[in-house]
Structures are given as structure tokens and as C-alpha cells.
Symmetry: C2
Subunit: 744 residues, 2 copies
């Protein structure tokens, strides 16, 4: 019994002891759990429910209401209405509960027409009588345009020189370098001292002004040819019934050639009040000849009066006339001279960016940035207000997620830019003021300008290393309508915009980042990976932009009734933007794919070879260093991604190290010395082409110098410059490869 | 008994259970401890024992042996001996067990005298007979110099133009701008086409060459005046018995004016084989006149023969003659003309840096860098080999710590530079090749060039934000000898080099970073905080450098027997370097003090006001923007440091965020557009002065343009340039302040 009892006591003791230990282990384990939980939180992937909740939260109705409000008044940069809308955006963000929302300002050289003495172009008879004058305003065609057309800014080209020019007229097609060279070399026509008339299209209007000035023209008239803006349709397809341009519609727009320097009087530095200003005559950015835009109804009168030989067949546009070159006038016309009477004044005014912030939970010092400009030439229901309407809904949806307990791993920054229409000023001054912070902290910049100009397909421009994530986002989202091509954005986009039309397995087409919207400062000055979003039309239509671009017909009606009834596509872009923001803000490892950059280098190398390979060989310029650098970069990117596969995701510093390398890769292509002759374009792999800023040439430093060398009167030093650029580009690629090694 | 027994059972069970729980809690707690321990390891301060162990590990004997070996042969850049020493350093680091050690190479334009047809300067009589020639070699004065003086490179000025010049001679004092202006404006002497003779000292010899060329001289003779190199002593103080210069000793040295562009044929880019080279006549860095150095024994013959008026009293040096200005010769002399016969050739050769790495435990992507150049003109026992001998001992000591279980939190990188003597080439090309990695990863660069030229006091040059930690390090270390001023380095340094001699509580003097050694590329091109270390002499001696600088008398004997017998001070510098490296590599929070930068801005502002305040006011240039920017920066730095006080040290991402801001602050003062006219000097707060590259003017962009404006023939635009620089500097300070905010 005593033995029994002792055994029992031992037995009970053991049981109790074991139980105690078990309880203790559990208590001990979980008592320490809080600390570990905290660390785990630093390294968690974010809430999985957010992706879908965010998508569902975005409301077409809200976007519609935003747009209705934002198109209810003109909001040109530098005007009280422009400022009022800046305040509205900040107010909206404060209501939505963003962690911070504020306005920043710059004092910028802008340009305005004189309302009291409006610009016009006249045809004069032999007695110097003005017998025809172009219209000052576009024609009202419905109630909305009736209400606004006389109070929005009249058609003009910002930064035109003011003044009067009278004389002969020459038709110069698109006013490209090749057009002027053909006139001079093959057609025997000298434009010196003449007024020239050119159609809009193919290249940036500021380049047309620059070339016209360089080739000696005294003034430039820009018009929109119906070939470009009327399509195959008739009256029924024209605004206010359809998407196409009536004859009185005029494309406004700036003609600044800033070459990436930002505001023209403070090149390279933010236009704050205290900043030194150069004089207007100290910059080449400003035109020294008058430039003025007109509609095709007015252009008909001028073009029909021009005499001289018939223009080459491919120079003829869509007007029902014989396109003649001039100079001078047709004998059948009473016109004997043309006069440009241009009253446009450059003037310094304040502009206003607004910035909204949702602070990151774990890495507040990493910024995922979305931006969109707010100023517009007219009511701007397409450019840019569809984008603004979308952005304000995107911020609302994110704040709904915050209210449900989510917070992004990294900070989100939303920027509503001013004065983009005048030359990307708001975003560029922001970049100039904050370039150091952007260089060390910006993960990606996502731009929306014209969110929905049409609904046929997506037209993304994306930095190579962000392309994979971009495609993934489009696979996660539905196409806004039921269509035969598929259900996801990716499906429809791929079918409608194949990269290679002959390959059924092709990826969808993604373009490079040239210039033309607010991403330019981010990518070309600082080297931030960028994404530019929007829906576009079918290129088979043959138009160069949406026909009502920058005209008085960009009304709420256009967006709400003609382009996107129900705002489904506006909602689609908002969903895509939100999904991309979340896709870069939340994952522990940034979703950049550096092999895409390696592939892109290969494509550029082939393009260079195809276009200039023979030239280079003929001038004894070896591409060996370039090839070797691309190989080294490719190897480094491959090795980097395999190391990334094996990353210890429980090591916060290792996570941050890899992320920093991923984020900094785009920065590695920035050369502080800039491109040859263009110190403010610093990305050595892409730049607005000198001859068409909307596109980017392969290895721009090389293609620019080859272009110059081919035309040079002194070719030996010009080809030496090509050889120099070859080595500089090879070095920059090599140097980018070295950033993928550690330590190095 | 049964009750008792039951009670006992209960009692035992409770005891056992409680014990079980306690044991369990401990097991549970610590079983989870491993994960937490891992995290704790990411955030631990490093082993406390290392500081002392490291200090004790460093051996004077080892440094002595290193120096003995490294001074056993000449090791000029671009020679096989130079390469052999590069290999020796790498070999040494591999033996010591560094994680990585490798050689990198660049192909550089160097400069060598012709051994077969040596350069000389001659005095000629009326029959054009050369009756006096300067020496080709320095005189052997002991066994060591006997052995080497004919095989080390003969005295020359690297990058001198070759050729022969004959004519009159003019004495131009130090060949500074003010000397030439005085000659022209007050003394009425025109140097055009003349040979000029100038004494070494006050400014960089390359600047003397540049000004001589600009003022029209046909050739420049440089000599070391005894006033500067003999002191008060006699024969007994001269080498080989003492520290002072015998009459035949000649200071070698380059006269390159690279303005921070690095190797002269590849400005701004690394001189790799594939890199494009400009032609020698395309750079202003290279002199176009012959320049040659001589000793004071030879100079006596020339100066004594010069005629013309006596030089101003303060132009007279220490030779026992009447210093005359010329031009032409004294009637008492047979000399009638002077001839420079200079055979120096620029030549491209390979140079070799070596890099050694100890990989960081937690943050391998943060580099604490130590560098020292390895090439020397002669045996170089002072410049730079005392530094090399020290660095190789520092790496050994660190590897001993690694063997004992320590590893630095951040990576350590040790760099042994080549071709510093030719113009900082090794380090500058490294900076050009790896500037992206340095910009994103370098914490601090610690330079040792001439570790011990004397043993009187420390002569640190330190970036403002690293000064506090520098002072702390000197407080942790002993002064190498027993002296009355105190026991720590700090005590003695403070007493011997007070910042303000009138203030007993003054801090010790720390200088700015001008140029003159390998830190230049790091601080001026990339914006890496830098520390330059060394012991120096008492300024009361009145010499401008150590007298045997760059002469054939820089032997092992000089360092081992004259300057630092027992190598105590060499050991002291090694300890200081090691302690600083550990001080930046180990702490969780980087020890930068940004308030030191704020204070520094205040000092610079006062200096500017004192020197140029009236000028600025007179020309209507307001300093309000500068004052406002300095106030904003000071506020931002203060706010930053109070936030840093409250940092959550258990949050790895918060730790990294603050560290990044601390590290990046120096980078924030880098302007990619560079200083006016000097695109490769990009630090807006310090730069090698245009008029004396060893020092830095306050706000160099401003002081440079003020200097030019004061001398300008067209002052209005020149003062506009000053106003522009004022706004640019204000902006850069403002922008640096914005990097201390988050998000912004």
C-alpha cells in the first residue's frame, strides 16, 4: 500500500509535472509571441483581401460625379479657376481622411492670348485689304459649348512670339526636318521670310515651330487636316453627335522646346520665388516667331488660295482641294498676301500642385506615387480631367481600405499637377524641388493623363522592369465590357494590340516612355520607373490623336455620352491604377523583373544594328563594348534573380537590400552629365527623340550623334562624337550591372 | 494518514506542477527565443569587447615591418614595381583572410622624364655657352640614398610640356594670381615670353603653372626656398641627421589642373580600355609650357644672377642673396640668358587599385571605406607609405577580431589606390566607375595618405556631420607618448591645435576637405562624408609641408629613426583609423550629428558676410534666401535628432530609415550641375578653392563668382551670376532640409 501509494504519488507527480510543462511551454511560447508577431508584421505580405475589395470599391458613379464637377468650369493653369480646383482636390483628400494633403506652388512663365485684341490670320487682296479673317472662337454646336466657348481660352499656341507678319505663304506638310529638306533640296522652295502653313500630326507642335524657325520662316500657321480628324465618317460622326472634329475646332497647345529643363526661366531648378530667373531671350526654349493654330474650315480658305506647284501626292491631306506649295497665291484667287496678327503674352503666374499622402505602415520612406495633371486648355473632359476624376476615386477607395484596417506597407503619394499643358511644369518643378528624395525613395511613378480617350484597347507606356507586374495586374482585372476577345484586360489588350501581329502567342504591346506627360521628369531626370496608363482607339482609324484633342469640344457630354457611357472604362483605369499601386506598395519584395531590362537592351541593340549597323561599320566604330556590357548586364540580372529566389524573408535587412537594388536599377541608367547637348535628359537608355518627342530612339545618345554625323559638314569629329557616345553607353550599362553585385 | 497522504500527494503535485510550468515557460520562451534572437541579432550593437581588443591588437612592430618592405624599392605608378606592390597588398589581404581581395585596373595618361636625355636648366653667357646646369639627380647623403637616388625617378613635374625655352628670367614669388597682378600693376613687369622662377608653397604647384601660362610666361621653374624647408636649424637638423631639406633635395609633383574631372583624357568617366579618349590638346588640364623643379642649391645660382629691381621685402626668401625681380641678369654675373631643356613625355599606362572586403554581418550593402594611396614618387616612407603600412596592419587587426567571432554590422572596404601622385587617379577612376554604388551605399570614407609626417598634433579634415564621432574616437584613444597636455588623443590635440587659441574651452581644430588626396572624388563628386587622418608638425615652425616632401630623402630611415622611432605614432593612427571604422560599422544607429552641419552653415555664413557682405549689399544681392534656408535646415536637423531620440530600436525598418537619412545627408548637398564652370565639383558647400585647391572657400559657387565679378570688365552680367549662385545655394540647402522630412 505504501509502495502503491508511492507509485501513485510518482505517477500523479509525473502527470502533473508533464501537464505543467506543457502549459508552461504554451505560456512561455506565446508570452514571447508578441515580439515575434511584431517582426512578422514587418515582413508580412499585407492583407490578401484588399486586392478584390479595392477593385469592388471603385465606383463608376463617383468618377462620373467627379468629372461632372471638374468639367463644370474651365480650369486653365494660372487662373483663379485653376487654383479653385487645386483647393477642391485638397479638400476632397482631407474629407477622405488621407494622412496629409497640401498645396505647393511655383511661379512660372506662362502664356496667354489677349482677349481684347484677339489673334487672327488674314488673307489680303492687292490693295492690302483684309478680305478673310480666321475665327477667334470655335463654333458653339450644343448647349454646353454655347455656354462655355466664349469664356474658355480662345485657340492659341502658348509661348508663341507676338507680332504681325505679312507676306507670301508656303505649305510645308508636317513641318518636319525631312519636309523642309525636301522643299529645299528637291522641290527648290526657300521658306526664308515666308509664312508657312503646316498640318498638325506626326511630331510635337513645338518641334514644328523650332524647325520652321531654323529653316527661316517668319511665321507658322498650324491646322488640323480632316484626314487626321474626320475619319471616314460624315456629319453624324461629328461632335456633338460623335467623336470627330467639326471644321471650326482648333487644337490648342504649347510650343515650348524645354529639352527637359522645366520652367523656361529657371532651367534645372525649381521656380520658387527666391530662385534666380534668366531673361526670356537667354533660352532657346521660347519661339522667336509667331505661331497660331486654326481649324480646317479656316485652313481651307488659305490652302485653296495658295499657288505654285502642286504638293507631292503624299503631302495632300483630306480637304477637297489641290494642295499647292506656294510661295504666293493662285491666280484664280483675289488673295495676294497673308498676315498673321498674333497677340500672345508670356507672363509669370503662380501654379499649384496638390499632394496627398497615405503613410506606409512598415516602410514610410518608400513612395509609390500616382500623378495626374489637373489643368486643361478647355473643359478638358478627356485631357486630363478623366484622369483627375479617376485619381480622386482611387484615393477614396484606398482610404476605405484603411478604414477597414489595412495600411500599405510603403507610403502612397498622390499628386495633382498644374500647368502640364504649358510644358509639364507642375510635375517638372516638383521633380526639381524634390529630386533627392525621389532618387532615394521613389519606387514607381504611375501616371494618368487622358484616362479614356477611346475604349478600344490599352495604351500603356512602362519602364522595362515594371512591365511584368503591369501585365500581371491586367491579368487580375476584368475588361470593362463583354467582348469576344476574352474576359480579362490582358486578354482583350493582347488580342487588340499584339506586339507582333503575326505571332498568336505574342505579348501585348507596351511602349517606351518618350515625353508628352508628367512622367517625363520622373524617368528622364531622376530615373524612377514609370507607368503611363490609358485606353485608346484602334490605330486602324488612322487618326494621330483623338480628334477633339485640346479643342473646345472636350465637354462632359463627350466623355459621358460619346466615349464612355456608364463610365465603365473610366472605372477600369481606376481599378488598374489602384491594383498597380497596391501591387508595388504591399509585397515584401518589390515586383520588378530585371530580366525584362536585359531583354529590352537586346531589342534596342537589334534596332540599332538594323538602323545604323552599316553606318557604324563604315565609320570604323566598334560595338564590341556595347555588346559586352549587355552580356554582362544580362548575366548580372540573371544571377541577381537567382539570389533573390533564395532570399531569407525573415531577415529584414536582406529584404531591404534586395529591394533597394531592385528600386535603384532604373536610377543606375541616369548619367549626371546627361545626353549630348541635352543636360536635363539623363536616362541613357531612353529619351524623347530630338525629332519626335513622343517616342524614344534606341540608345538616344548614340542615335542623336549618328543623326548629326550623317548631316555634318565636318564628319570626322562628328563620328568621333559617336564613338564617344558608344563608350559612354557601354559604361552606363556596365555600371548598372555593377549595382546588382554586393559588395562592389 | 490517508488524508495526510492525500495532502502530501496534492502538495507534491502542486510543487511538481508549478516546477513543470516554470520549466515549461523557460523552455517555451527560449524555444521561441531563437527567432527573436535572430531578430535581436539584426538589431544588436555589436560586441563591446572589440573596441579595446582592436586597439591592443595593432602592433607598431608590424607597421615597421610593413614599412621596411614597402620602402625597399621605388614604386612609381605605371612601373612594374608599382604593380608588384599592388600584388603584394592583395596577397597580404588574402593571407589575412579577408572575404575578398582583388585588383582593378585603369589605363591612364601618366608622365615620365626621359632618362637618356634628362631635363635641366642652364644659365648661358653672352656666347650662348651653357656655363651652369642644374643637377639631374639629388645628392646621395647616406647608404640608403646612395643605393636608390639614381634609380628612383629623377626630379620632374609630371605633365609638364616638353621642349626648350631660352630667354630672360623673372622672379614671381609664389606665382599666385596676386603675385602676377602685383608684377603687372604695381611693379610694371611683363612676364610675356619670359622664363619665370617661383618658389613652392602657399598654393598647388599646378595652379602656379596655370597662372604662369595665363599671364604669358614661356616656362616655369619651381624651387623650394630654404625659408620653407630649413627652419632655424643648421646642418645637424638636415637629412640624414634631421627632418630638414638639404640643398640638392627637390620636390617632385604633378601640375595637372583636372578640376575634379579625373584622368585627363576621359573626363567624368572611368579610364577603362573601351572608354573613348579625347586628344591631349582638347583638355585644359595639361600645361602647355615647360615646368621643372629644382633644389635651393641650384636655385641660388639662378636667383643670384637675376638683375633688375629688388623684389618687395615680403617676396624675399631664405637664401643669402638679394632677391631681384628681373627681367634679365645682374651686371655682376656672366649669365645673359636662361634655358629650360625639358624632356618629359605623357604616356598611357596601366595603373592598379586593390580592394579588400570584410563582408557585413547585417548590412552588407553599407560600406565603411578606408583608403590610402600606394604609389609614391620616391621610396615614399612618409607619403604615402606610412599610410599603406598602417592600413595593412589595420586589416590584419580586423581579421583577428573576425577570427575571435566578431563581424562588423556593415561591410568594410579597404582600397589601396594607385597614381594618386599624378592627380588622384586611382581613387577618382574608382569613384567614376562605381559612383552609383557609392552614392547609395557608402557610409563614410576614411583616408590616410601621409599617416605620420611629424608627431606634434593631429591634422584631421572631416565632413561636418562626422566630426562629433571623430572627436569621440580621439577621446577613446591614448596619445602615443607621455606628455604634459594630457593622456588621450583628444586632450593633446585640443591643447596643441585649439580651434580658438584664446578660448581655453575651445574644441580642437578640424579642417575642411579641399583637395590634395584621395578623399576628393568621394566628397566632391559623390557626396560621401570623409575623414582624412594624419599627424603633423607645429605650425609655429613656419614650414608649408614637411621639408622632405616628394624628395629622394623620404627613406625608411627618415620614418623609423627621425620622425617616429618605435612607430608609436604610426600605431596611433592605425588605432584611430580602426576605431573610427568600427565606430561607423557597428552601431545600430549611424553616429552622424547633423547639428554639426547646421553649425557649419552658420560659420560659413559669417565668413561670407565678413569677407563679401559689403560687396553683396553694394550690388543689391540679398542673402535672405540663404539665411532662410540655413534657418530651415537648422530647424529640420533639430527636429530630426529629436525624432531619432524616440526611435523604436526594435523596428528594423525604422532603424534603416533613420540611418539612410543620416547617410544621405551629405549626398543632399551634391548638385548634379556642379559648381559654375566646374561641372565635376558638385558639392555646393565645399570645393577645392580655385585659387588654392588645398583649402575650401565658404559657399564656393558664390565666392568663385564674386571673385570673378570683382575683376570683370563687364560687371553687370557677372554680378547677375552671383545672384544666381546665391539662389542655387539657398535651394540646395533647402533641399537638404527636405531630405530630413518623411514623407516629403
Amino acid at each position: 500500500m505504501e509502495n502503491m501509494s508511492r507509485n501513485r504519488v510518482i505517477f500523479i507527480s509525473v502527470v502533473v509535472g508533464v501537464l505543467g510543462i506543457v502549459v508552461g511551454v504554451l505560456i512561455g511560447y506565446f508570452s514571447r509571441g508578441s515580439a515575434t508577431g511584431e517582426f512578422a508584421d514587418f515582413l508580412s505580405e499585407g492583407d490578401a483581401w484588399v486586392a478584390e475589395a479595392l477593385r469592388d470599391e471603385i465606383s463608376a458613379k463617383n468618377i462620373e460625379e467627379n468629372l461632372r464637377y471638374l468639367t463644370s468650369k474651365p480650369h486653365l493653369a494660372g487662373t483663379p479657376e485653376g487654383k479653385a480646383y487645386a483647393d477642391w482636390v485638397v479638400q476632397k483628400w482631407r474629407e477622405q481622411g488621407l494622412d496629409d494633403a497640401y498645396v505647393t506652388d511655383y511661379n512660372i512663365l506662362l502664356s496667354y492670348p489677349d482677349r481684347d485684341s484677339p489673334s487672327y490670320i488674314a488673307l489680303l487682296d492687292e490693295n492690302d485689304r483684309e478680305r478673310f479673317r480666321t475665327a477667334v472662337f470655335e463654333e458653339a454646336v450644343d448647349a454646353e459649348t454655347e455656354q462655355w466657348l466664349s469664356s474658355i481660352v480662345q485657340p492659341f499656341n502658348a509661348y508663341s512670339a507676338p507680332g504681325t507678319v505679312q507676306g507670301d505663304v508656303v505649305y510645308v506638310n508636317y513641318a518636319r526636318v525631312e519636309d523642309y529638306e525636301r522643299l529645299r533640296d528637291q522641290l527648290g522652295i526657300d521658306v526664308t521670310g515666308k509664312v508657312v502653313i503646316a498640318r498638325y500630326g506626326k511630331i510635337f507642335r513645338g518641334e514644328k515651330a523650332k524647325y520652321s524657325q531654323e529653316f527661316g520662316a517668319a511665321g507658322l500657321i498650324l491646322y488640323t487636316d480632316p484626314e487626321d480628324t474626320v475619319g471616314s465618317g460624315g456629319e453624324a460622326d461629328m461632335y456633338p453627335r460623335g467623336w470627330y472634329l467639326p471644321g471650326s475646332g482648333v487644337q490648342r497647345g504649347n510650343i515650348l522646346n524645354s529639352a527637359g529643363a522645366g520652367e523656361p526661366l529657371t532651367p534645372g531648378y525649381p521656380a520658387k520665388d527666391y530662385m534666380f530667373r534668366i531673361e526670356q531671350n537667354e533660352t532657346d526654349a521660347l519661339a522667336r516667331i509667331p505661331v497660331h493654330p486654326i481649324g480646317y474650315s479656316d485652313a481651307w480658305h488659305i490652302l485653296n488660295a495658295i499657288g505654285g506647284p502642286a504638293a507631292p501626292a503624299e503631302w495632300a491631306g483630306g480637304l477637297n482641294i489641290t494642295y499647292r506649295l506656294g510661295p504666293g497665291f493662285d491666280s484664280a484667287s483675289w488673295a495676294r498676301s497673308i498676315k498673321m496678327n498674333i497677340s500672345v503674352r508670356n507672363e509669370r503666374r503662380d501654379i499649384f500642385n496638390t499632394v496627398g499622402v497615405i503613410r506606409g505602415r512598415v516602410e514610410p520612406d518608400r513612395y509609390v506615387i500616382m500623378g495626374n495633371h489637373r489643368d486643361s486648355w478647355t473643359l478638358g473632359s478627356v485631357d486630363p480631367t478623366s484622369g483627375t476624376a479617376v485619381m480622386v476615386e482611387v484615393t477614396r477607395a484606398f482610404m476605405e481600405m484603411v478604414k477597414r484596417g489595412w495600411r500599405p506597407r510603403r507610403s502612397l503619394m498622390f499628386c495633382s499637377w498644374d500647368a502640364e499643358e504649358y510644358g509639364l511644369h507642375g510635375s517638372m518643378e516638383h521633380v526639381e524641388e524634390f529630386h533627392r528624395n525621389l532618387a532615394s525613395r521613389a519606387v514607381v511613378y504611375i501616371n494618368i493623363d487622358t484616362a479614356v480617350m477611346a475604349t478600344y484597347t490599352l495604351r500603356p507606356k512602362v519602364s522595362p522592369s515594371a512591365r511584368q507586374e503591369f501585365r500581371e495586374a491586367t491579368k487580375r482585372l476584368p475588361w470593362p465590357e463583354t467582348v469576344p476577345e476574352g474576359t480579362t484586360m490582358y486578354d482583350v489588350w493582347r488580342k487588340r494590340s499584339p506586339n507582333d501581329p503575326d505571332d498568336p502567342d505574342t505579348q501585348p504591346r507596351i511602349d517606351l516612355l518618350g515625353s508628352g506627360s508628367d512622367f517625363a521628369g520622373f524617368v528622364h531626370r531622376v530615373g524612377v520607373s514609370c507607368i503611363d496608363l490609358g485606353y485608346t482607339f484602334d490605330t486602324a482609324l488612322g487618326v494621330s490623336s483623338y480628334p477633339l484633342y485640346h479643342t473646345g469640344y472636350e465637354t462632359f457630354h463627350l466623355q459621358a455620352d460619346i466615349i464612355d457611357p456608364g463610365f465603365k472604362f473610366n472605372r477600369g483605369i481606376a481599378q488598374l491604377a489602384a491594383d498597380l499601386i497596391r501591387g508595388f506598395a504591399d509585397p515584401v519584395i518589390l515586383p520588378f523583373d530585371l530580366m525584362e531590362y536585359a531583354n529590352y537592351l537586346g531589342v534596342m541593340r537589334s534596332d540599332l544594328q538594323a538602323e545604323y549597323g552599316t553606318d557604324l561599320t563604315n565609320h570604323g566604330i566598334s560595338s564590341d563594348s556595347l555588346d559586352s556590357a549587355i552580356r554582362n548586364f544580362t548575366d548580372a540580372a540573371q544571377a541577381f534573380h537567382s539570389r533573390l529566389q533564395g532570399i531569407d524573408k525573415n531577415n529584414p535587412f536582406e529584404v531591404r537590400m534586395f529591394n533597394d537594388q531592385l528600386m535603384q536599377l532604373e536610377r543606375a541608367f541616369i548619367d549626371p552629365l546627361g545626353l549630348p547637348g541635352r543636360p536635363f535628359y539623363r536616362h541613357t537608355l531612353m529619351a524623347p527623340s530630338k525629332h519626335n518627342k513622343y517616342v524614344s530612339d534606341p540608345f538616344p545618345g548614340l542615335t542623336d550623334t549618328i543623326f548629326d554625323a550623317e548631316r555634318s559638314a565636318d564628319p570626322a569629329p562628328a563620328w568621333r562624337e559617336v564613338a564617344k557616345q558608344m563608350s559612354i553607353i557601354a559604361f552606363n550599362i556596365q555600371s548598372a550591372a555593377s549595382t546588382l553585385m554586393m559588395p562592389a
